[in-house]
């Protein structure tokens, strides 16, 4: 079965780029433009993994992360950001993986695969 990824990213160009790349990998990609939209989507759908940008309007990724971890305990979350300082935020420690944004998605894709594999082993 196709694995579902919820991609939370405010910048349209990047969103399309990630979406294309992830679909090429065979994933089904759900989209949210900010943290609030992500939480709303999670009420209807259960993705297998979440990729979360941090700096976004309406609701940022750290705030959304806090709300998501209490509710959706099992879904792995990758924080995907251009800013390395986020690790100062205690709540960022709740993520399962961290990726610094880059044009090369190798690292992101590896982390996605690892986390999804890990979820399958009981």
């Amino acid at each position: 079965m196709e694995e579902k990824i919820l991609l939370v990213e405010d910048e349209e160009g990047l969103r399309l780029f990630y979406q294309q790349e992830l679909e090429d990998e065979g994933y089904h990609v759900l989209i949210a433009k900010n943290g609030k939209e992500a939480i709303q989507r999670l009420e209807q759908e259960k993705p297998d993994l979440i990729i979360l940008d941090i700096v976004m309007p309406v609701m940022d990724g750290i705030e959304a992360l806090g709300r998501i971890v209490g509710k959706e305990r099992k879904i792995p979350i990758i924080l995907n950001t251009s800013y390395p300082d986020y690790r100062q935020e205690f709540m960022s420690w709740a993520a399962d993986a961290y990726v610094t944004k880059s044009d090369d998605l190798t690292e992101l894709k590896t982390k996605i695969r690892n986390l999804l594999e890990k979820g399958k082993t009981p």
Binding site: G66, V69, R73, F90, M91, A94
Partner: protein, 401 residues
């Protein structure tokens, strides 16, 4: 000196203290005539030089909030000192606090802003005098991730406590939450080491463990979940209360029931109470209005205002009545020919002429009409008031008699 932040858990409902907790959270319940239960924990903090204190509340917090706002606004904000109430904000999650650990986790943004080196987690429910500095020094000496304050208790009480098994080096090697069959102390088969619900955490460990716990399906409780998960993985140590006990008598009470509340209050009127309120090197602070001094009036045949073996707060007038072995909060009136025995009268209670009160707790502002008898016919009392198994009557606030 490490930067220490105290977080006082004050959300306890105290259901077994009903009706004293009908209108207030347990930490706000009056104790010892002029105090509230939480005053002991907050005073311990100040006396231990801990001046950055958050009080986490959720249920019925107005009374507590008011007490802290009026009575504890004594620190210096420009120096970075504060006693501040944080009501449940539902920022992280849209529910009430699920357990003690969840209460701290939901305030993770507050921890973030303070960024202390150590977090001292306390309960606002207990009465004791303790120097937390001793525990913090111990924590640092042992390079612990978590230090739990412990007290020896009778094994019969194991069903009410987290029971610890302690290795020779002081490390906690086993933890049972409210066990029927507890691990007893080596060489003391009637004793257990109980957790007092007082924790010193290294902040980073605390945050990591809280997050891990939030992402698990646990009950989000320090005793049930966090401590057991840390034993064997982190450096978890026990700190014996006797090393930090400022009273020197081992006094520590969880006044969780009306009986326990009554006994703990009554201990204060003994000649040498276990809890010494007169040690001015360890003052217990509270909020008090400037009431006039207590007085007794009338000294004539058959009408003498007296108070014997009792605590009488300011503002009280014993006007031709008799008070014995009782505790009177501020502004209590006992009118002529009335008798009050073995009772606790909270602020503003007015006992009318010829009334007789025995083994009764009367909550704030209750007016006892002339000629009323309470505590003499328990079957009758039980129809109107709360009556405990041991025969203590509790008259609730607001009641009209």
């Amino acid at each position: 000196m490490k930067k220490v932040l105290a977080m006082v858990l004050a959300g306890g409902r105290g259901e077994r203290l009903y009706p004293l907790t009908r209108d207030r959270a347990k930490p706000a319940v009056p104790f010892g005539a002029v105090y509230r239960i939480i005053d002991f924990t907050l005073s311990n903090c100040l006396n231990s030089d801990i001046r950055r204190i958050y009080v986490l509340t959720q249920y019925k917090s107005i009374s507590l909030h008011r007490h802290i706002q009026f009575g504890w606004n004594i620190l210096s904000a420009p120096l970075g000192e504060f006693v501040e109430v944080i009501p449940a904000q539902q920022r992280v999650d849209e529910h009430w606090y699920q357990g003690t650990a969840d209460a701290i986790f939901q305030n993770i943004y507050t921890l973030q802003e303070e960024r202390p080196d150590l977090v001292l987690i306390l309960s606002g429910d207990h009465i004791y005098k303790m120097d937390y500095r001793k525990m913090i020094a111990f924590h640092m000496e042992e390079e612990a991730d978590l230090t739990v304050a412990t007290i020896r208790m009778d094994r019969r009480l194991s069903g009410s406590f987290g029971v610890m098994e302690i290795g020779g080096d002081g490390r906690i090697i086993g933890f049972q939450e409210k066990p029927e069959e507890p691990k007893v102390l080596p060489g003391d088969p009637e004793g257990i080491m109980a957790s007092m619900g007082i924790y010193v955490f290294t902040t980073e460990t605390l945050v990591r463990r809280l997050i891990e716990d939030a992402r698990s399906g646990s009950s989000h409780d320090f005793g049930k979940d966090i401590i057991p998960s840390m034993i064997g993985e982190d450096r978890v140590f026990a700190f014996d209360f006797r090393q930090g006990d400022r009273g020197g008598t081992g006094y520590w009470r969880d006044v969780g029931t009306i009986e326990a509340y009554y006994e703990a209050n009554m201990d204060l009127i003994s000649v040498t109470p276990q809890l010494n309120l007169y040690d001015f090197t360890w003052p217990i602070l509270t909020y008090q209005l400037p009431h006039p001094p207590a007085k007794t009036v009338w000294l004539e045949e058959g009408r003498v205002g007296t108070a014997l073996n009792s605590i009488i707060s300011h503002g009280c007038i014993i006007s031709g009545g008799n008070v014995r072995r009782s505790i009177l909060s501020p502004n209590v009136r006992v009118h002529s020919y009335a008798e009050v025995e073995d009772s606790i009268l909270l602020e503003g209670v007015d006992v009318g002429r010829h009334s007789k009160i025995k083994r009764t707790i009367i909550d704030k502002d209750v007016q006892i009409p002339e000629g009323t008898k309470i505590g003499y016919n328990l079957d009758e009392d039980a129809k109107r008031f709360t009556l405990t198994d041991s025969g203590i009557v509790v008259v609730p606030k607001w009641i009209r008699l």
